[in-house]
Symmetry: C2
Subunit: 560 residues, 2 copies
Amino acid sequence: MEHNESPEGDKALKIIPLGGLGEIGLNMMVIEYGGDAIIIDAGLMFPEDYMLGIDIVIPSMDYIKQNASRILAVILTHAHEDHIGALPYLLKEVDIPVYGTSFTLGVVRRKLEEQAGLGSSSLNVFHAGELLRIGPFEVDPIRVSHSTVDGVGLAVRTPRGVIVHTGDFKINLSGKESTMTDVNSFARYGEKGVLALLSDSTNVEKHGYTISDSEVADSLRRIAFDAEGRIVVALFASNVARIQQIVDIAEMKGCKVVFCGRSVELTVKIARELGYLQIPAGMELDIRRSNDFPANRLILITTGSQGEPMSALARMAAGNHKHIKIRKDDTIVFSSKIIPGNEKAIAGIINTIYRLGANVVYEKTAPVHVSGHAHQEELKTMMHLTRPRYFIPIHGEYRHLVHHSRLAQSAGIPEENVVLAENGDIITFDDDGARLDGKVPTGRVLVDGKGVGDVGRSVLKERQMLAEDGLVVVTIVFDEETGVIVYGPEIVSRGFVFWTATGHLLDDAQCVILEVVEEIGMDAPNRTDLIRSKIQKALRQYFNFTIKRRPIIVPVIMEL
Amino acid sequence: MEHNESPEGDKALKIIPLGGLGEIGLNMMVIEYGGDAIIIDAGLMFPEDYMLGIDIVIPSMDYIKQNASRILAVILTHAHEDHIGALPYLLKEVDIPVYGTSFTLGVVRRKLEEQAGLGSSSLNVFHAGELLRIGPFEVDPIRVSHSTVDGVGLAVRTPRGVIVHTGDFKINLSGKESTMTDVNSFARYGEKGVLALLSDSTNVEKHGYTISDSEVADSLRRIAFDAEGRIVVALFASNVARIQQIVDIAEMKGCKVVFCGRSVELTVKIARELGYLQIPAGMELDIRRSNDFPANRLILITTGSQGEPMSALARMAAGNHKHIKIRKDDTIVFSSKIIPGNEKAIAGIINTIYRLGANVVYEKTAPVHVSGHAHQEELKTMMHLTRPRYFIPIHGEYRHLVHHSRLAQSAGIPEENVVLAENGDIITFDDDGARLDGKVPTGRVLVDGKGVGDVGRSVLKERQMLAEDGLVVVTIVFDEETGVIVYGPEIVSRGFVFWTATGHLLDDAQCVILEVVEEIGMDAPNRTDLIRSKIQKALRQYFNFTIKRRPIIVPVIMEL
C-alpha cells in the first residue's frame, strides 16, 4: 500500500539506529529516504561501573560525519539526557536545525549555552499536532505522557508510508490533559495505515499497567496532611508534573514551598517561564527564610533522590547543608525510581535519616512514584492503536527488545513482520517489504573531562588495576660509566598499603630489587631495559607472595 | 518471672551485637552472663562499591580480644558467608570450640582447612532439639527454613530467661519436613515464656508471605518439561534444597545432571557425604561426557547466577568454557536472587545469551526463586509464636531495624519493650528490665589479599583518585653542585589518557615543568622540596585546565 502512494516507488526508506537498541540510553536514530536524512534524538548514557573516571558516554558520530551533507535536521522527543545529552557533540559535527517542543528546547538552550560556541544553533519550537515538512519527510509530533513534561512521539510520513516512533512513553489517562498520551492521534494513524511502529521497550518486563499519576498524587497528599513537621520531597528535577502535584498539595495544605539544589531550581525556572509550572504568588519561599517558618507549613522540593553524595538532600542528612538540617519531626519522601546501581547510596541516606529520628517514605513503603515507561498492557495498547504492518522494538537492552518482540507476536503481529534490530543495522523498506540490509559503523565514545574519545580500553584497564591494588614507583640511578647505583632504589607507593604497614614490606622489596640488580652483569646488553623488566617481574612475584596484591609497578631507571 | 528462677538473680544478662545490626552481613553477637560469654555467628560482608580492591570485610575483633578468657564457644546458625565467613579470623584470636549443625560444620571444615594452621580447631556437631550446656547457658537449636540447608535458630536459656535468636529464617511449611521451620518448638518456648526475641529483619520491607518452595519447584518443573533442549540452572551453590528439587525434576524427566563450577561441585560433595542431597545412582554425568548426550536429556546446574565474570555460566555464554557452549535450543534459568549491585553484570549475561538465540528465564519473568528471609506476615508469626517480653530486631540495615520495630509494635509488643539497638550497644537485662547500657568497640576491618586491616580510608582515597584519573610520574635529576637539570623532566603516565592522545599534552606539560623550575632560584632554600610541590601544583592546574582531569602527580626529584 505505502509504496503505491510514493512518487519514488523504487526508492528505499531506511531506518538506522545509532544507539539505544541494545542498551538503555544513547538514543539516536537516522531515517533516510532518497538521499535525505533526519535524526531522531541524540542521547547520552551514564557510564557503566567498569568505565572508571568516565563522565558520560555518547554514540559514535562516524556515520553522521560520513553523511553530514545529507542530514537535514535533528528532532528531539523530550528533554531527558538519554535523548538530548549528546546534542552538543552532534552539533559540533553537523550544523543542522534542531526541532523540539518548547520545554525540551528550553532545557537544550541552557545546555548549549553552557558549551561555548554553540549558543547560535538554530532551535525551532514545534507543537504537538503541527505538521513539520523536512525534505521528503512530514513529521507530526504527538503528545505522550512521560516522566518529564512536553514529550512527544513522532509520526514520520515518508513516501513509503508512515513510521510511528513513540519516544519514551506511558499511557497515562489521569490528571490534566496536557500530561496524557494523545491516544486519538495515534489511533488516527492506525486507521490510515502505519508502515512501522518503533516502540519504547524499557519496561517490557513489567506486567499490567503503570499506576496512574493521580494515585501518586493521592499518596503524596495523604503523607503531606499526616505529617506534623516539614515535608522534604526528593525527585528528578525534570519531573515537572510531579513538582506541580506537590505545589498543588502545598496550596491545599497552605504551605510554603522551598526549592533546593541547582537542577531543581533551574528546571523550575525554565518550566515557569514557559508556562509548564504554575506556582501561586507568594508561595515560593527563599531557602534562607525557611527556618523562620513553622515546620508544618513547609514543603521542600530537593535534588538527591539517587543518593548523590553532593546533592542538597545528602548534605541536609549529613548536617552540612548551609540552611537546612534534617530534624526529628521531618518526613522525607523519595518520589523517584531507585535506579539500579544507586541502591546502596540511596539506602545509605535513608539509614542516615532514620538515625536522625526523622521519617522516610519511599517506593518500597508507599506508592510515591510511578515509572514514565509503559508496562506490557500499555505497550499492547500502542500496538492496537497504531496497527502497524511492521513492529520494531527500540529503547532497551537486547533482552528488552527480545521480550518486546515476543509481546508484539502475542498481540497478533506476525513473526516475520517483527524486526529485531540492533545499533548499526540498516532496516530497509522497499517494494519487497522490510529487511535488515547491511550495517553502518556505531560505537560508544567515552567523555572524560574535556577529552572525547581519548580514554579507551587500555586506559580503563590501567585504572582498574590502579583501583584494585594501587601502584609502586621504583627509582634507581646508575653511574653511566661504572654501572654502580648512585641513587635509590627509592620506592614510592600510592593506593597500595597503609603507610604504617609499609615499613617492613618496602624494606624487603628494596632487598629484592638489589638482588635483581646484582644478578645482572655490569656489561649486560640493554642493561637498563633488562633491569626494568626484571624488577617488575620480581616485585610482582614478591608482592603477590607476601600480601597477595598486584600493584602496577613503574620502574624509573636511569644511567647518568 | 525470669529473675526469680535465676540462682544469681543479681547478675545481669548482656547481649552485645558486634556486627549485623545496621548492615546486611557481618553478623556476630556476644551473649554474656556472670563473667561467661558465648558468640553467635562470625560473618563477613562483601565490600561496598567504594572499597576498591578489597576482598572481604570482617567485624573488628577488638572486644573479643579484650575478653578472650571469658569466651566459652562460638555457635553457628547456618553455613552462609555472612554468618561463618569471619570464623577463620575469629579463631586466630581465640581458641574456642565451634558448634554447628552437620552441614554447617561440613562447609566450615573445608574453609578452615584452606586457611593454614586452623585444621585442628575443635568442631562440634549439634542437632536441632539437642540441648547444649555451655557455662551458665543452655543452647537449644531449633530447625528453621532458609536458603541453605540445616539452618537453626537458637533458644538460649540463661539464668535471666530465654533468649530466642531466629538466625536467618522464613516460615516455609511446604516440601520435606527437614526444610520447614519447626514452629512447634518456637511455640513451646512461647508457652513457657521468652525474655527476648531477636529476629531477622532482612525482608521486613516485603509485604505478605514468601511464596512457597513448592511453587518454585512447580515452576522449574514446567520449564524443564517444556524445554526441547538442555536446561542450564544457575543458582547459589549453598542452596542445597534447590539443587535437590532440580535433581528430583531430572529424575521425573529422565535426565542426567551435570554439576558445573567449583563451588557447586564442592557443596554437592559435602551435601551428599552428609546425606543432605540424594542423587539416584547413575544420574550424575561428568561434564566431559555431556556433549555425547541428547540435549533434552540434560540438566546442568551451575555457578554464575550473579553474573560473576569468571563463573562457569559466564564462560559458557562467552564461548570460552572448555566443555559447554550455550546453544540456540538451550534454556537458561537464573534460580536466584538478583543481589543489588549485580544487576548490570547479570543483565549483561542475559543479553549475551539472548543474542546467542537461547531462551532465558529469571525472577522477573517467572517464579523461579524465593527469598530465604521472612516477609512481614512471617515475621509477625514468629512474634506470636514466641510471645517475647522484649523484641530486638537484628540482621538488617538501620532502616530495616526501624521498620521491624514498628512491625513489632503493630503486632502488640509495647513500644517500651522494643529495643532498637546497633552494633556495640550493650543490651542489659537485670532486675529493672532491659536497657541499653554503654558501648563496646566495634568496626569493620578490610581484608585485601593477605593483608587484614592494612588498607584504610587513606589508601582507599588514593585508589579512588587513581581509578578516576590515573597518575603521572615526573622524574627530574639535578646536578647537586650546579643545580642544572641533568636528566628529565621525564613523564610517565598510567590510566590517564590514551597513548596516542598523550603526545602534545605531555610535551606541553614538560614546558610547564621547565617554567616552574626556571622560576625557582638556584639557591632557594629546600630547593627540591619546593620544586616538588610547585610541580604538583602547576601540573594539577594545567591538566585541570586543558582536559579537566585530576591525576595523582608523583614527582621524583633528585639532586646527584
